[in-house]
């Protein structure tokens, strides 16, 4: 019951503080009214609606029904792509490890390289300590064995034992339901477009639900993706209730007996309680029809340490079951997912590798690490 007391006291304390500050705010809000009507109040209450975002990414200018590439041939490209973008990391790490003397400075550099990949201070120190221990046992290593040690430590970090398959199969003849969530501009709509292509390539029937009713033209964007592969998109009025759209999409999925329903949601910052509640509602409403088999959280590879907080909040609200790391084709390395995966135990399942329509690939720990370390 300790917590209870803490709560009550905390709340009371907050109330007192807040009372005081609000009192101040009201006071200062009154006098300086020279030309108020022109000035948008910086703290004006935000409307109850998700922020608009631009989960960008273009697509090929074709309008005919396309037959997407089968997923198996994608891995080769993943390796190439990752090797191209991330080599500085591998080179940096290896050159340090294989230098003649590993002194404190060298280890500092090593840490620095890891930190610049957004790995976070904690995992970085852990990895460095582990490597130091390993190398202390074996003595200073040549490049090949250093690489071997580094590989196994990195592999430990990304944990290949997690189940990374997408659960898109529903039970009892119901469709699998995939809910895609994330903050603004991580590429949800684009990823769903790509995901639909993957599913179509696997000969699954798909329905898309455009539950992003807030951002201008988000539903259009999704529909454009859907039309390219001949997948129907269920959409509602702009500004409508996203939960209703999601419900209709799943209903349509049930009626048409499709295999998978993929629901797009509006980007929402995890700090907006109202919007997070809305997300919770979407999930609850869907589950009246069919269980949600997969909740994918989109994390942009450029995201820094804030990614962990995002993941935590989203996990609390909708119990995410997988992570999609998008925009990994840039110079960012997306190291934040290591922390997310470790803390929440939610595996990275897919990665987005670029603007091409088939640039969504399954995440495979070993291939990923190999690609990181390939020269």
């Amino acid at each position: 019951m300790d917590i209870l007391q803490l709560l009550i006291i905390g709340l009371l304390g907050l109330a007192v503080i807040v009372a005081g500050t609000i009192f101040l705010a009201r006071r200062r809000a009154l006098p300086p009214a020279t030309k108020r009507e022109l000035s948008p109040q910086p703290t004006a209450p935000a409307p109850e609606a998700p922020e608009e975002s631009t989960p960008a990414e273009p697509a090929a200018p074709t309008t005919t029904l396309e037959r997407p590439e089968a997923p198996t041939t994608r891995m080769a490209r993943l390796r190439r792509r990752l090797a191209g973008s991330n080599n500085p990391l591998a080179r940096g790490l290896l050159s340090i490890l294989s230098s003649d003397r590993l002194d404190a400075d060298a280890w500092d550099d090593f840490e620095a390289v890891l930190i610049t990949s957004d790995l976070g201070v904690g995992p970085t120190q852990e990895l460095t300590d582990a490597l130091r221990r390993e190398l202390a046992i074996d003595g200073v290593a040549d490049q090949a064995s250093a690489k071997q040690v580094l590989r196994s430590e990195l592999l430990k970090l990304v944990d290949p034992s997690l189940d990374r398959s997408l659960s898109v199969d529903g039970a009892d003849g119901k469709p699998g339901v995939v809910l895609v969530v994330g903050v603004n501009g991580t590429g949800k709509t684009t990823t769903i477009g790509k995901l639909a292509r993957v599913l179509v390539a696997e000969d699954k029937t798909v329905v898309l639900g455009a539950a992003d009713t807030f951002r201008a033209a988000a539903a259009d964007q999704l529909q454009t993706w859907g039309d390219r592969v001949g997948v129907p998109t269920v959409r509602g009025p702009e500004g409508g209730d996203p939960a209703a759209v999601a419900y209709q999409a799943v209903q349509r999925g049930l009626d048409d007996e499709v295999d998978v329903v993929v629901i797009d949601t509006a980007g929402r910052l995890h700090t907006k309680t109202g919007l997070m509640d809305e997300l919770g509602k979407i999930k609850r409403v869907i589950e009246k029809l069919a269980p949600v088999t997969e909740v994918l959280l989109l994390i942009d590879a450029t995201t820094g340490q804030n990614g962990l907080i995002q993941a935590r909040v989203f996990a609390e609200v909708v119990q995410i079951t997988g992570i999609v790391l998008s925009k990994l084709d840039g110079s960012a390395k997306g190291g934040i997912v290591v922390q997310v995966q470790r803390e929440l135990g939610v595996p990275v399942k897919l990665i987005g590798l670029g603007e091409g329509v088939d640039d969504l690939v399954p995440f495979e720990a070993e291939a990923f690490v190999d690609a990181l370390l390939s020269e």
């Binding site: 007391q5 905390g10 609000i22 006071r27 608009e52 960008a56 903050v183």
Partner: protein
């Protein structure tokens, strides 16, 4: 939740009380904490190193200021350095001598360019310009549509001759838009370009071509506040590839610390001109270096807390409740508590809100373990009471408690513990209310260029100055109101009247520096230390 810098430094300095001068070892220990804080805020590693080196040399030379304790002093130095980097070259938007002024937006995918174009359009319109938005993002499906919708919401015209979705040449569109603007007498043109990666040389070339075609007055680099260590790479890639004149930081309404701002300002040396911090088209503001500094250090939390509180709390109600609570006559009932609790919950997850309160650092673990359902249960219990019981919980006897437990689906033990804790907490608060009345303030005294402000804090330390709760409520408020005013100055809202308003910075600083009075902190510790469990 990250520990705030203050909490960390508190650890470091716990044993250093009473020292008159900082030794090198002290500074090293501090520097380590600051380094971690900056890295966790996503500040670029190179920038952090340089920053720490500067800090060390400055801190070593400095005398210990009488009024500041060492941790405050270090924080002050850090803060000043940060503000210097962040706000070194603040400047307003340039307008071309001969219209049209051309503003080009560039950035990564998903950084918020299209939305920003709308915000910029609305803002320019409010300033008496006639802006034209140009849809030069022809790649992302329906980006053109999005801009059209955004333009419509902002009441600004959109030039979109091409349908987009991969059709059309953005360079051509951009070039034509200038002619269009000239003939139709628009005086500002905002060119929205497609998102692109720094390493994509083809698209960077395209951006450079667009730039060459429109010869922009300002090229703004739009960057997401959540970006991590890659910020510097990306920014330099854009600076090399396209070249930009200013930076716009978006999605500041999240809780990312935004260290990227510091990295970009430091490495590229381009000013951060605007901050976009919300969902509506009006949520767009000039950049405040001081606030950003506090935020990067994790000290701006109180300011954020207050801003959020202003949105969600009913001021009158809260003021009344606080008066009752501190009044000491047992007037504060469970209904008041319920109201406050609901208001707090509207602000966000409780663990986060409590975590924002400075001085709660030592209780982080407990705070993180708070189960929101626990609070649902509390609510259920209180809601199962009659109004009379809520107003005066003292009348709760055994049979009433049994009824309440049944009504709320809990046990009598739960009800008992809620009521008992409530009484305890209320008593605590009341004794607190008796103790503090004085406008003494912890930290941040006269080291500022400001004329002495008495107490920009809602609460002060200083024992026994006045036991009168009413006076307490009103006393500190007045000087603070004076100090706080500039922040609400309408002219300042868009960075126009930035000059001559130093106290904006001070306020943010003062609030950022806010600490729980030691008395209160002690109180908060009590349940942990002497609880009967």
């Amino acid at each position: 939740m990250f520990d705030t810098l203050q909490d960390r430094l508190h650890e470091v300095f716990k044993n250093l009380r009473g020292k008159s001068r900082l030794t090198e070892a002290d500074i090293d220990a501090t520097a380590r904490e600051i380094r971690l804080a900056l890295l966790e805020a996503d500040v670029n590693l190179g920038v952090v190193k340089e920053f720490i080196a500067n800090l060390k040399s400055r801190a070593l030379g400095a005398d210990v200021h009488k009024a500041l304790n060492p941790s405050q002093q270090i924080i002050k130095i850090v803060d000043e350095e940060l503000v210097a980097i962040l706000g070194g070259e603040a400047r307003p938007l340039r307008f071309a001598k001969r219209p049209p002024t051309v503003i080009m937006l560039a950035g990564l995918q998903g950084s918020g360019k299209t939305t920003l174009a709308g915000k910029l359009g609305l803002w320019l319109k409010g300033q008496g310009h006639s802006p034209l938005l140009v849809a030069a993002d022809l790649q992302r499906p329906n980006a053109v549509n999005q801009l059209q919708v955004v333009g419509e919401r902002a009441g600004v015209h959109v030039y979109a001759p091409e349908p987009g979705n991969g059709v059309g040449d953005p360079v051509q569109v951009a070039r034509q838009s200038i002619l269009h603007a000239m003939s139709k007498l628009y005086d500002v043109v905002v060119v929205d370009t497609a998102g692109r990666l720094g390493i994509d040389s083809e698209l960077m070339q395209q951006a450079a071509d667009i730039r060459a075609a429109v010869n922009p007055t300002e090229v703004l680099f739009v960057v997401d506040a959540m970006i991590g260590q890659d910020a510097v790479n990306t920014a330099s890639a854009f600076d090399d590839g396209v070249g930009f004149d200013g930076v716009v930081l978006t999605k500041l309404d999240g809780d990312a610390r935004g260290g990227a701002a510091l990295s970009i300002a430091k490495v590229i040396g381009k000013p951060i001109m605007f901050a976009s911090n919300g969902e509506g088209l009006k949520d767009f503001d000039a950049f405040h270096p001081d606030r950003m500094a506090s935020r990067i250090l994790g000290m701006g939390d109180v300011l954020t807390l207050i801003e959020q509180a202003e949105k969600t709390f009913d001021a009158e109600q809260t003021a009344k409740a606080a008066e009752k609570l501190l009044g000491g006559r047992g007037e504060f009932g469970l209904d008041d508590f319920l109201q406050q609790m609901q208001a707090v919950r509207r602000m966000g997850p409780l663990s986060k809100i409590l975590g924002m309160m400075p001085g709660m650092g030592q209780m982080k673990d407990q705070i993180n373990n708070i189960d929101e359902r626990e609070i649902d249960r509390l609510e259920a219990i209180i809601k199962s009471m009659t109004p009379a019981e809520r107003a005066n919980p003292k009348i709760l006897d055994g049979s009433r408690r049994t009824r309440i437990a049944k009504g709320s689906g809990t046990t009598v033990t739960d009800v008992n513990s809620l009521v008992n804790r409530f009484f305890d907490a209320r008593k605590m608060m009341q004794s607190l209310g008796g103790q503090m009345g004085g406008p003494g303030m912890p930290g941040m005294p006269g080291a500022r260029r400001q004329p002495p402000r008495q107490a920009p804090k809602p609460k002060g330390r200083g024992k026994g100055v006045s036991g009168n709760p009413a006076k307490r409520a009103a006393g500190p408020a007045e000087p603070a109101a004076a100090a706080a005013q500039p922040e609400w100055n309408p002219a300042d809202a868009f960075g126009l009247g930035k000059s001559g308003q130093p106290s904006d910075a001070d306020l943010a600083k003062a609030l950022g520096d806010f600490q729980l009075p030691p008395d209160l902190a002690k109180m908060f510790d009590q349940p942990k230390n002497q609880g009967p469990r």
